[in-house]
Symmetry: C2
Subunit: 370 residues, 2 copies
């Protein structure tokens, strides 16, 4: 019998799955991880008020979520001092990036990102047939001028730029980001991924000016808010831009439980502040552990620290393997020269004790193997 | 400044939002609904074990869900007696239908459905530029032969067929459905939406034969399992077909909390059986209420009863408005002649008391207005 007639585009996509979760690694190892420090989750957990809200919502889980996400959008509007019409809330930034690419990119359309930046964005661009153009990092930071210049050169419809950056933890100050926005080529949309805005230092995040018709900024409850397991992210943009998402989004895609949890988390800014303080402490300790082992911690505006292992990608991959073999889940950048680093999320004291205990052997074994 | 350069396809899509949730109606009314009987949710709620699992998972909500959905897929495999490789789990059937359409439909590709069937499917087809061909219902049921014949005529890549059907509550027996599968045109995929399989009578659901390369069946935790607010649905198909979803799906789209809730709900089949029994009782009472008011309840294999109001769509819309004005959330079919009916979900005794109390005035007012 004949098989399904997939679109030409789908037939051109790779069959391999680009996303390997820690659970898959645990099943392959036959053992759980002692420390889960690879996905930039918040080990400090969500606000107790968010936990209570999820618990309360569980009994109401028989009801679909409000497709307008009215309460959460209005709470976000009050929190950020902009209008509810400036928000689209969706199934994590991942889901929203998929919608954004679908809105803009037909097969062959040009898109610009940094070589080594967020792979899920690239996955969506490929998935809609976009032509991806990459510019290198400059000094372990994304390069705003190069991104704009490349976009102008290839007539890109979309640029992806994360500030602070993942996987390097680096950032630009608000003035630089605003200058990039001001110099954005005509007809080009800037997807400004601010997933790590909550952990950024003062002065790194430009004011929320919703007047630009082609800038969309993304925030999430998956990082500092500690709710990765609910899948709630949001985009901020001009109302006309936001409205376009309604043409294609899964209107009932955000469940009632997720909306309730995010709403309660947003309301508990004290808890967010306490988490951010704990993340800062953990970053300091990660830096100390790195230095104690002769490695170089990079400055971080995120909930992780990227650690320069001092050699090439082969060496860093060996260090990473040595950590994973000892039950420490960490990840690393994919692209040279950034792949000389490993990336370690902020952890509890116990997590970081485990990392500190495992790192020397991972390094020794990596040196021996090289 | 220039606006975003949307794709030609997106520019062609309507800006109006096709989905109005009950919360939107409540905000417009300035009052909540006394009975929520319009979205075919399960007012009987999820299993207490699912509620407990969601509560337990809340504290772990800082972790992303397993992108392979390993545990749930394996539990589903054991439950249904097929392999884990036959399952794709996603953000509700709505989300999975979107992926399915994206896999198969490029602009201009032919798709067949019934006139008056699931609007969200049509939304996805339009959203990917498909050419939608509709066949009428036959005797308030979908017409399998007509669907296959139309698909053959227009060389469709995809047919949508729901058994049992929403919005009519009708169904075909397994032999008829299997005959439709056996006669499926070459190169055409059948999306067999079995969202209401759990409430269907014995003999309505064909055996799960995963050997056909172009049949995908959809099930959900949103109906009888009472977990619409978690957004978990799944597709069952041949492994090669299932694998294709991995090329485009949001791999981290299904959160940890949702996976935990669905897993616990699946494990509590006793609770599912008790819910199905309560749904059956509610259907009987809805039929009685309809008859007491001189209306005709249609036979139902679902968790709702479609009630023939005995006149045309204008009249039924007036009845519906009269119910909504009295705080009873119900919906109705969109398309003549099925729009002579209103559709009322199974409710608690209190819900049905409220419906019974409101219906006479809604009918009287509708008669007066006509």
């Amino acid at each position: 019998m004949s098989t399904p007639r997939y679109t030409d585009l789908v037939q051109s996509l790779p069959a391999t799955v680009p996303f390997v979760g820690p659970e898959t690694q645990e099943r392959a190892r036959g053992a759980g991880f002692a420390a889960r420090l690879g996905a930039n989750e918040s080990v400090f957990g969500p606000s107790p008020k968010a936990i209570a809200a999820i618990t309360d919502a569980a009994a109401e889980a028989w009801m679909y979520g409000d497709p307008e996400v009215f309460e959460l959008r209005h709470a976000l509007a009050a929190h950020h001092g902009v209008a509810a019409e400036n928000f689209v809330v969706g199934e994590g930034i991942d889901g929203l990036l998929g919608y954004l690419v679908r809105l803009l990119i037909a097969p062959g359309d040009a898109v610009v990102t940094s070589d080594g930046a967020y792979p899920t964005f690239n996955y969506h661009v490929s998935g809609f047939g976009g032509a991806l153009h990459k510019v290198p990092y400059a000094g372990d930071r994304e390069d705003p001028d190069a991104l704009n210049a490349k976009a102008r050169e290839v007539d890109a419809k979309l640029i992806y730029f994360a500030n602070p950056d993942n996987p390097m933890g680096s950032w630009h100050d608000a003035t630089t980001v605003q200058a990039m926005i001001d110099a954005l080529p005509e007809g080009c949309v800037l997807a400004l991924d601010e997933a790590y805005a909550d952990t950024a230092p003062p002065g790194a995040i430009p004011a929320l000016d919703m007047g630009h018709p082609r800038v969309i900024r993304f925030r999430t409850f998956s990082k500092a808010y500690g709710l990765a397991g609910l899948r709630v992210g949001y985009g901020l943009a001009a109302p006309e831009f936001i409205t376009s998402f309604n043409k294609i989004r899964n209107h009932f895609g955000l469940g009632r439980v997720a909306q309730a949890g995010a709403l309660a988390a947003l309301a508990d800014q004290d808890y967010l502040r306490s988490t951010v303080a704990r993340i800062a402490e953990a970053r300091d300790r990660l830096a100390t552990i790195a230095r104690d082992n002769g490695l170089t911690p990079l400055p971080s505006a995120t909930n992780f620290v990227t650690i320069d292992c001092g050699r090439d990608g082969t060496f860093a991959r060996a260090v990473l393997s040595g950590l994973v073999a000892q039950g420490i889940f960490v990840r690393m950048p994919f692209t040279p020269p950034q792949d000389r680093c490993i990336r370690v999320s902020a952890g509890t004291e116990a997590d970081l004790d485990a990392f500190a205990a495992a790192l020397p052997r991972a390094l020794t074994d990596a040196v021996t193997a090289s």
